[in-house]
């Protein structure tokens, strides 16, 4: 086979550097990191090779690398690096670059990569929901903050589910799902080596692996414990499992609530027995679950945020992608909670405005998912299923 011609790309190195890998030039390839990593299997170690690829700006190598997704960012490698390089940050930066470039439209990825893109990203849903608000205010005799006769506030009076929220979010959700699905497919193709791979030993279909991954890694986040089992570094490592798990469960509860309400609403039109009308009563079981979800969401977020703030900044730096995601989820959670509070307090101006913001942030969360750090929900899952298919635990 003819030798390939290497294409070192300083611009790609620069991109990684800007995406949080600012120590990528410090590596001198001793491979302490690959030994320190509790996740890396002995026969397929990382992140030593990712460091040298990063330094040489080898775009294809990094983008096609399954290992960057297996890293759970415990930071052992950064703590133990004798040269002050932070491989964990470089791995994270590599993932960020994938979020940025993997799927079209790439303009979104580009806007997502830096704080300066934030106003535009915010403006899109803000204008969209403002338009909806304006139109719907017309239906309420020009009243932007309508209250019912009994003084209660019904958000549906402005943001009417059937014609506004549901179609817009359905569209957004399925578009995002389609885009991220393409991303997942592209990644899967990229992971696959040239030629064919023979797997010796018991095999399972990819769906079974996917199920395992969902249960073991997403619901119970076992990998974070493996992460914790790394060599002693002399640094205090905060557990990320608790915060992450709470957050995931919170999302599950909220997704469940949304599904039930949607089913009740639309299904109720066919089978009146299961009809659910919003707003729900405060003691309604669904409402209680929703509030528990919101409570867990804020709790999980607080844990994760505090950890990031108090972590040693020289070896465990959080980058823009980390803060963007945390920020958006915070915004979703807080606007959600406060919208309810103000609704119950019957302060119409505040309640509608906050609910409006809530819609904006929820839209941002879903619409930009394929280009945000939340994309790891899918991309990491793809990587984990992939390696399990080839006999690795990942």
């Amino acid at each position: 086979m003819a030798q390939c011609t290497l294409k070192p790309d300083i611009d790609f190195s620069r991109k990684l550097l800007e995406a949080g890998g600012d120590s990528l030039k410090k590596c001198y390839q001793c491979a302490t990191c690959a030994v320190a990593c509790p996740m890396a299997p002995a026969n397929a170690p990382y992140p030593r090779k990712e460091m040298v690829w990063a330094s040489w700006g080898l775009k294809d190598n990094l983008k096609n690398d399954v290992d960057i997704w297996l890293c759970h960012n415990c930071g052992n490698c950064s703590d133990l690096c004798p040269r002050g390089a932070n491989p964990a940050d470089v791995m994270s930066a590599a993932r960020n670059v994938v979020y940025q470039d993997l799927v079209a439209p790439k303009a979104v990825g580009s806007l997502m990569s830096k704080p300066s893109g934030l106003p535009i990203l915010f403006a899109i849903p803000a204008l969209l929901w403002l338009l909806v608000w304006w139109i719907r205010a017309g239906f309420n005799n020009g009243n932007w903050f309508p209250t019912r006769a009994d003084g209660s506030i019904v958000f549906g009076d402005i943001f009417y589910g059937d014609y506004t929220i549901d179609p817009i979010f359905m569209l957004t959700f399925f578009a995002a799902l389609f885009i991220i699905g393409r991303g997942a497919y592209k990644l899967w193709q990229a992971f696959k080596p040239e030629g064919s791979v023979a797997v010796i030993g018991p095999k399972k279909c990819w769906l079974c692996h996917l199920w395992d991954v969902l249960v073991e890694e997403i619901i119970f986040a076992n990998h974070f414990d493996d992460c914790q089992d790394g060599p002693k570094t002399g640094q205090i490592t905060h557990s990320r499992r608790v915060g992450h798990t709470i957050l995931v469960w919170a999302f599950c509860l909220l997704a469940f609530v949304t599904a039930v309400v949607a089913l009740g609403h639309w299904g109720g039109k066919v089978i009146p027995a299961i009809e659910i009308t919003t707003p729900l009563k405060p003691l309604n079981i669904i409402k209680l679950i929703a509030n528990l979800g919101a409570f867990l969401l804020v709790g999980g977020l607080a844990i994760l945020t505090f950890r990031r703030i108090f972590e040693k900044q020289d070896t465990h730096k959080s980058n823009y992608y980390d803060w963007y995601l945390l920020g958006v989820i915070w915004a979703v959670a807080l606007t959600g909670v406060f919208a309810q509070i103000f609704r119950l307090a019957q302060t119409a101006e505040c309640a509608f405005f906050i609910y409006y913001l809530h819609l904006v942030f929820v839209w941002m969360l879903f619409a930009y998912l394929p280009w945000s750090k939340l994309g790891h929900l899918v991309y990491r899952t793809v990587a984990l299923v992939y390696v399990r298919m080839y006999g690795r635990k990942g």
Binding site: Q3, T5, I10
Partner: protein, 757 residues
């Protein structure tokens, strides 16, 4: 010659039940008036005032201290008269074991063998002192002017340093301006803290410091024509553009630097074949000239492919030569001394030795390329060994921390031209794949060939020729044994610094220059005091020649490892005490025994040998073996063995010698006629990785062994009775076994036929 000796026994350090009073009595009985007093002191270290008082009151002219090894606390015993020691602790009591090999458990009364050994050693000590006199002064009037050969980075630093220390300087530079190789360097690696950043060379400042100094004479376009005389009193003849200038010089610093390796060695890597392949030194010049910089530069530190190509070529040539029958034997008259021909010692090895300098250099150049192009360029460093010395690791980190500097370990297997660029083929890399790399320019390392490998730099007017000896041992570098004797060149008074000694970065050259200046000053001042520089620093003895009996055999002048002896037309040696290291190789060589030191001579050691009581009954009382032990390594090894109770045969008697090179064959005859059954010459390892303090001592001794064997054979004594054993200073655990094995061989051989005659 000592006539009133005081003998002191250190009771605290002589154990083992030895009857010390009896030792004292025996000595007095034997030597009569020579021994003015014997004293048994409870603790010698506390008796120094008492000894001083005795010297004063009794008019002692020598003090013999019997107790611990002379290597212990000798700084304590500095008296107005000569001091000598009898080692009754480490090499007698502590090293004693029973003749049957069982360990000795100290008892109230010492066994007869131990008592006898102690007594022999005391008698030998008295004899030694008796035959020893304080040397006359060898002090000479010195010229406090240092000659610096080479006006490059090292030479300029050395000249400035020497002037700062109060010495005049003569600076000789071959080119028409000062600066040397640094003239062509755009920047330097760090010259000081924080050891992170490229440093401007500021060469002009360094030169200005020299040219503006009244106490420095600078000769440009100048080379050495001749260096004659000795340290402190050298005469240098300098050829300045055809005209010979003469300068009186005290000592010399050799800082002639390096020349780039012949491009032919790197031809297999494309050097000389493509304009897109240059050496690091040439690339430095390009940067200086602000030449347009390429977008992709490959710095290739791995030169294995060139080495392998050369090896294949050499093998081919060899095969061809073999096919073409062997070449005719070298003709030429035998016997006549051949005219001196300078051997060309340039080789591929110089490129390998230069790896550290090139590693640092390429990091510097790669970083500069990126910096100059505002991070538009990519600089690849492909190395086999990234060798960055010491603190320059900090520099490595800094230079590497630039986006465009991309490094990997790689085997570079091919470099070829393709369209408008070069292709570098890399295998076995850290990237986890073999690949081709495209580059607009390939930079290869520069081989630093020491000037001494190509030219005669100093032109010594010495009996042993104009050149440094044994340059080939060091591939042409002017080095001798840097670890033990920094800057040493085997020509006392001439100290090498900078890249002529070892390829070095500029910061290291500066340190080297300063170190060599210290050495040059030390040598000059030692000559002024009439003492040795090293390794026998401050030794005031020196060889004295009794020319009446000299047969002009030239052995001493040829064998002196330091070329200290010149001679006249007839061959009579002309000593130069200031060049001498006091090893005694000359008197070891002399068949007529006309050379001696005031405190170390043929007769002295002979007398010591004769003091040993050799029992007539070999079977009952065992053999006797004489050990002549080199005092630099073998003697300390024996001390250490003793301290660790690693005993050896009680039939041995040890005499320290300055170097095995100083062992004269007559001592072996003396021992044999005395009735000794065997002689061990215990000294350093020799060969290419010699450990000898005087470089050649143990090697020369080994050569002489053949003659000794012939002599013994003629006398009817088996040559196996004499053996030279090699021991390193840290082999204390092995040396007792070596001795015991020899004694066992002698025991098997039976008694010396001369015994009792």
């Amino acid at each position: 010659m000592a006539e009133k000796i005081g003998v002191y026994f250190d009771l605290a350090n002589i154990g083992g039940g030895v009857n010390v009073q009896s030792l004292a009595d025996e000595a007095t009985k034997k030597w009569g008036n020579l021994i003015a007093l014997t004293k048994l002191v409870p603790e010698l270290a506390k008796a120094t005032d008492e000894i001083r008082a005795d010297i004063e009151a009794q008019g002692l002219d020598g003090v013999l201290l019997c107790g611990a090894s002379p290597r212990i606390d000798n700084e304590l015993y500095r008296f107005a008269v000569p001091v000598d020691y009898v080692n009754l602790r480490e090499q007698c009591v502590l090293a004693y074991k029973n003749p049957d090999g069982s360990p000795y458990i100290p008892a109230a009364t010492a066994p007869a063998n131990l008592q006898q050994m102690a007594q022999d050693y005391v008698q030998m000590g008295v004899a030694k002192m008796q035959k020893s006199t304080p040397p006359d002064s060898a002090a000479i009037e010195v010229t406090r002017r240092i000659l610096v050969i080479g006006g490059g980075w090292t030479g300029l630093t050395a000249a400035a340093e020497a002037v700062d220390m109060g010495y005049e300087v003569v600076l000789v530079e071959k080119a028409d301006k000062l600066g040397g190789a640094v003239i062509n360097m755009p920047t330097a690696s760090p010259l000081g803290p924080s050891w992170e950043y490229k440093s401007p060379t500021n060469l002009a400042d360094k030169v200005a410091k020299i040219t503006g100094n009244m106490r420095i004479t600078v000769y440009l376009n100048a080379v050495m024509a001749k260096l004659s005389g000795q340290p402190g009193q050298y005469t240098a003849e300098i050829n300045v553009a055809g005209e010979v200038k003469t300068e009186a010089i005290g000592s010399v610093i050799l800082a002639t630097g390096w020349k780039p390796l012949d491009p032919k060695y790197l031809e297999p890597m494309g050097l000389g074949k493509s304009s897109k392949v240059v050496t690091a030194a040439e690339f430095g010049k390009m940067l200086l000239a602000d030449a347009p910089l390429p977008k992709r530069v490959a710095f290739v530190l791995d030169t294995t492919m060139a080495e392998e190509a050369l090896k294949a070529k050499a093998a081919e040539a060899e095969a061809e030569a073999a096919a073409a029958e062997q070449a005719p034997q070298a003709e030429g008259a035998e016997g006549e001394e051949k005219a001196f021909v300078k051997a060309d010692l340039e080789s591929f090895a110089h490129l390998k030795y230069s790896n550290a300098v090139n590693s640092v250099g390429m990091l510097r150049l790669a970083n500069t390329v990126c910096e100059k192009t505002a991070d538009k360029s990519q600089a690849y460093i492909l190395y086999k060994n990234m060798t960055v010395p010491g603190i320059l690791e900090r520099f490595y980190k800094k230079m590497q921390d630039r986006l465009g500097v991309m490094m990997t370990k790689a085997d570079v297997t091919d470099i070829r031209e393709d369209d408008d660029h070069m292709v570098v083929e890399c295998k076995n890399t850290l990237l986890g794949q073999d690949f081709n790399l495209e580059a607009d320019l390939v930079v290869l390392p520069t081989g630093l060939v020491p000037t001494t490998a190509k030219d005669v730099t100093v032109q010594f007017d010495y009996r042993q020729g104009p050149e440094f000896p044994d340059l080939e041992l060091f591939d042409g570098f002017a080095d001798s044994n840097y670890i033990c004797f920094p800057y040493e060149t085997r020509r006392t008074g001439v100290y090498a610094a900078g890249c002529v000694r070892q390829p070095l970065t500029l910061d290291a050259c500066e340190v080297d220059a300063k170190g060599a200046v210290l050495k040059a000053v030390q040598c000059l001042e030692a000559a002024n005091l009439g003492v040795a520089v090293h390794p026998r620093a401050l030794d005031n003895s020196y060889p004295v020649f009794n020319f009446v009996r000299c047969t002009q055999c030239k052995r001493c002048t040829e064998e002196c490892p330091f070329g200290a002896l010149d001679d006249d037309e007839k061959g009579t040696p002309k000593p130069n005490p200031a060049r001498c290291r006091r090893c005694g190789t000359c008197f070891g060589a002399c068949p007529e025994r006309v050379i001696s030191f005031a405190n170390y001579n043929i007769d002295q050691i002979g007398s010591m040998i004769r003091q040993v009581v050799v029992p007539a009954d070999f079977k009952k009382e065992g053999p006797r073996v004489l050990i002549l032990a080199c005092e630099n390594d073998a003697y300390p090894a024996l001390d250490m063995a003793g301290m660790r109770r690693k005993a050896w045969s009680p039939y041995c008697r040890i005499i320290p010698v300055r170097c095995l090179g100083s062992v004269n064959a007559i001592w072996i005859s003396d021992a044999m006629s005395k009735g000794f059954d065997g002689v061990v010459l215990l000294g350093c390892k020799y060969g290419d990785d010699y450990q000898c303090h005087f470089i050649k001592g143990s090697e020369i001794c080994n050569r002489r062994m053949q003659n000794i064997a012939e002599t013994l054979d003629r006398l009817g004594v088996q040559p196996e009775r004499v053996a030279q054993l090699e021991v390193a200073i840290d082999e204390y655990d092995k040396v007792p076994t070596m001795i015991d094995n020899f004694v066992a061989r002698i025991t098997a051989l039976g008694p010396n036929p001369f015994k009792g005659m």
